[in-house]
């Protein structure tokens, strides 16, 4: 990509986002979609209002905490299962199917299960872990296969076992794919935590969103939804940077 096309792309991008913002503001000001669609400036003003800082702060901390714990737990389990499938190829086919089916389970259908299995405050973490699990498993499993034939031949000729091959060949080869999986898992775990909170967690962004929906607090509803989107974008950006770092180092 030349600097010229990149600059045009950036200009279009800025313009596109600006059009989106202006449309939002205009729709809100003119109340075309009714009073439940506030202008962007009102929502931002509400979000930065010091009066609500501690409210939003506590909610963000709670959601961040459960999403983060779920993210770590889901990624660890995913790595473990991917490594297991790499060591025991007989499990691979069924494992892939099993994981894909788990992923297709609508996360909200698991609400009844988690309410029984753990506390209401643990449910967001569990659903976040499940949401993070799938992208990390798929990426890591594919990364383990991402070795060259000549490397595999060399390890075979030197008489290395499956474990040595996993540790010294497949693991390093899987790093970029693994980082890519983390990048997709990060926003997924934020969404998972929010869904989990809807089953009655004591606090969090999800609770704020639902209670302001039920109580007709329109500005607060939009502000907390915007906050959820920002957290999700932030998680995506951080792990996007991490992935670029890993790819640059392993190249």
């Amino acid at each position: 990509m030349t600097t010229e096309t990149r600059r045009t792309g950036l200009a279009y991008g800025t313009l596109g986002v600006a059009v989106l913002g202006v449309t939002w503001e205009a729709v809100g000001r003119t109340e075309v979609l009714g009073s439940t669609f506030p202008p962007a400036s009102d929502v931002i003003a509400y979000l930065v209002d010091p009066a609500y800082r501690s409210l939003f702060g506590r909610a963000v901390a709670a959601t961040f905490w459960s999403a983060g714990r779920g993210f770590v737990a889901g990624s660890l389990v995913a790595m473990f299962l991917a490594a297991l499938a790499a060591l025991l190829p007989v499990l691979k086919d069924g494992m892939d199917r099993f994981v894909a089916s788990i992923h297709a389970v609508p996360l909200i259908a698991l609400g009844p299960l988690f309410i029984v299995l753990m506390s209401r405050s643990g449910t967001p973490t569990a659903i976040a872990a499940l949401a993070a699990f799938f992208p990390v498993y798929v990426a890591t499993a594919a990364g383990f296969d991402d070795t060259t034939a000549s490397h595999r031949d060399m390890f075979a000729v030197m008489g290395s076992g499956r474990w040595v091959r996993l540790r010294h060949l497949q693991l390093p080869a899987a790093l970029p794919a693994f980082a890519d999986g983390l990048r997709l898992a990060a926003p997924a775990s934020v969404l998972g935590a929010i869904l989990g909170e809807w089953f009655g967690a004591p606090r969090g962004i999800g609770i704020l969103i639902v209670s302001s929906m039920q109580n007709f607090q329109i500005d607060q509803l939009w502000a907390s939804a915007m906050l959820a989107a920002l957290i999700s974008l932030f998680a995506f950006a951080v792990f996007g940077a991490f992935e670029r770092l890993v790819v640059a180092r392993t190249r």
């Binding site: 894909a100 297709a104 990426a139 809807w198 999700s232």
Partner: protein, 286 residues
């Protein structure tokens, strides 16, 4: 790596599976059928041990931990409930599936249409792509309460949500697919004097089919999830409404049965779309 790319959400333009990797990862159909005929039990266990693990684990947990049946019913009692009262679940299931599939088809049609328009008009593409990329990283399912408040607690709101869920991925994937034509092919079309419309119909559109199928697989399960979430929060009708109603009344048997039905539909739709995607890749990929 190629498998990961298509399985995840990144456009697969750069690293599509080559004929060679596809052949090695998917044995020939005749061989697979022969394998299945030779030892059906083993073939079945190898592919579907996960399902048995889940149902078996659930049954064992309920039996060993001696959980209160009212809180967590066993798999057997859920199947009995489904067999004795199927009528309770027919109407909600049809409602949820219909709204999810109509929204999926509508959103994908609109996404593909906008992607095609922006293929003809570069300015439109420049404007829409960054917006679509940003909105794609926004958790739309978490925005259901906002949309419910704006458009009302009605069935059409759920439809709008499922349309939005499938629109953005389709737009992004089809756009990149329309541009990922084989190297040199555009030059060939130009040399032979093809018009822009011919170029679109004969080259760009076919090369976007695999990407559209990836978008279909990614959106399908999300549409069902979004429909359930919306029904759960708004309590209009459908399986999500059954959850909300019965969890409130602590009628866990009904809640679990509805969850099992929703899960089965979602997994079946996922497997179907994955099969379509693989068939499409075999037919349209270079």
């Amino acid at each position: 790596m190629s498998q990961a790319i298509s399985e995840l959400q990144v456009p697969i333009t750069a690293t599509r599976p080559t004929a060679e990797t596809r052949a090695s990862s998917r044995p020939h159909l005749a061989r697979r059928v022969a394998e299945a005929m030779w030892n059906p039990a083993r073939w079945f266990a190898r592919r579907y041990w996960g399902v048995f693990a889940i149902v078996g684990g659930w049954h064992t947990y309920v039996t060993v931990m001696d959980v209160n049946r009212i809180v967590m019913p066993s798999p057997g009692s859920v199947f009995t409930e489904l067999a004795t009262n199927p009528g309770r679940y027919v109407e909600p299931s049809i409602s949820t599936i219909t709204v999810a599939i109509v929204g999926l088809v509508g959103g994908m049609t609109m996404g593909a249409a906008f992607a095609s328009l922006s293929w003809f008009a570069r300015a439109l593409n420049g404007l829409l792509t960054p917006v679509a990329v940003i909105l794609r990283s926004v958790p739309i399912v978490a925005m259901v309460p906002v949309l419910a408040r704006v458009f009302g607690y009605e069935q059409r709101t759920i439809l709008l949500i499922t349309i939005a869920i499938s629109f953005f991925p389709t737009f992004v994937f089809v756009s990149s697919g329309l541009r990922s034509t084989p190297a040199g092919s555009e030059d060939l079309f130009a040399v032979l004097g093809a018009r822009r419309l011919t170029l679109f119909a004969r080259l760009a559109l076919p090369s976007a089919v695999p990407n559209a199928l990836v978008a279909l697989r990614l959106s399908a399960a999300d549409c069902i999830l979004a429909a359930l979430v919306a029904e759960f929060l708004m309590g209009t009708r459908g399986l999500g409404h059954v959850f909300q109603d019965t969890i409130g009344d602590l009628d866990m048997l009904t809640a679990w049965t509805a969850a099992v039905i929703a899960t089965t539909f979602s997994v079946m739709l996922f497997l179907l779309t994955r099969r379509l995607e693989r068939a499409g890749q075999g037919r349209w990929s270079i």
